[in-house]
């Protein structure tokens, strides 16, 4: 009972059980998407907005599938390259999805799809003032993190590595520095997660959650991989809370040495 309470997560004004945020793109089929998300236990799913022709029902159908999952929706501004584009997209998303949550992406480079620090701060300031709960996709730059917090963010989502690269956590030192500086913030590793062990490492660093998409959607068996990440974030959260042993350079026997049979004199 206290166990389950401990695991509750207050994020952006809502309360969820799972530390996983999952994307809705790139699955082999809509059915696989639904099953994978359900299997993952995620209670927050990211979605986007795209142009749609009159009469095209794709958006409506997708939306009904997402609604049937009965979990929280986190719209993104994926593909935006300027603060202005991102702000407009966020405002449209708020109307369509009826939520003030926004995963704020302002891309600064097509090669690594990293955020643009300058436009990101501008967009964040505008959106916070406009009443949004901003989930900024950011780099692992501590100074940028400070600016975002000054702009009003209660949540930060540093990248692990480039979107879709599956490289895991490229710079644990930087991620740890952000965690230590902002013990009260909700921190989520977003982008770059490739394997369950990457998600566990993020949580072991003390991060509060993990956001991923490709790692599940592009697995050979996405549904099973959803289950894997469900266990992974649990393992990481528990492992962090439990306080891991210290690494040591010397080996140290686990089985007691005293009482060892056959022992007659000191061995060298």
């Amino acid at each position: 009972m206290s166990q389950s309470n401990q695991a509750l997560w207050h994020i952006g004004g809502k309360t969820v059980n799972s530390r996983l945020l999952i994307g809705s793109a790139l699955y082999p089929s809509p059915e696989t998407m639904q099953q994978s998300i359900a299997a993952s236990g995620a209670e927050i799913v990211t979605v986007s907005l795209r142009r749609q022709a009159a009469g095209d029902q794709a958006g409506q159908k997708f939306w009904e599938m997402i609604r049937s999952l009965n979990i929280h929706v986190l719209p993104n501004t994926a593909g935006c390259h300027t603060a202005k584009e991102a702000i407009t997209t966020a405002q449209m998303a708020r109307e369509v999805f009826e939520t003030n949550w926004i995963k704020l992406e302002v891309i600064g480079d097509e090669y690594n799809l990293q955020p643009d620090p300058f436009e990101l701060v501008k967009a964040t300031e505008a959106l916070v003032n406009d009443g949004f709960e901003v989930f900024p996709y950011t780099t692992d730059d501590l100074v940028l993190a400070k600016r975002l917090v000054e702009a009003g963010c209660r949540i930060l989502m540093p990248w692990g590595s480039p979107i879709g690269s599956g490289k895991g956590l490229m710079n644990p030192y930087n991620l740890r520095a952000i965690r230590e500086r902002f013990p009260e913030l909700q921190l989520i590793v977003d982008a770059g997660i490739g394997k369950p062990s990457d998600a566990v490492q993020a949580m072991e660093l003390g991060y509060d959650g993990v956001l991923l998409n490709s790692a599940v959607a592009l697995a050979q068996d996405p549904v099973k991989m959803g289950m894997a990440f469900k266990s992974a974030v649990e393992a990481g959260l528990l492992g962090h809370q439990a306080g891991a042993m210290q690494q040591r350079d010397l080996a140290s026997p686990s089985t007691p040495v005293v009482g060892m049979p056959f022992w007659h004199q000191v061995k060298d």
Binding site: A25, V47, A54, Q60, F62, E85, V96
Partner: protein, 73 residues
């Protein structure tokens, strides 16, 4: 609409279409037959809330984006 009315060129999701001058967003959506309930509109990259559809008119050369829910990561 009468023959004498001026036409304006408006980009709808990147494709240029002709409309009568002074058309409102609401009329434009009607003309395009958007019947979905889940969409949002931007005019020249600025968001137009649903409540403004009747009041906001469109000018020659304007760019309109109409977006709907889609997969996202």
């Amino acid at each position: 609409m009468t023959q004498s009315e001026t036409l304006i060129a408006v980009s709808i999701n990147g494709e240029v279409r002709q409309f009568p001058a002074s058309i409102s967003i609401a009329q434009l959506l009607e003309a395009l037959a958007y019947r979905q309930t889940r969409f949002a509109v931007a005019l020249n990259e600025t968001f137009v809330p649903r409540s403004q559809y009747d009041h906001q008119t469109v000018a020659d050369g304007d760019r309109i984006d109409i977006v709907a829910p889609m997969q996202g990561g």
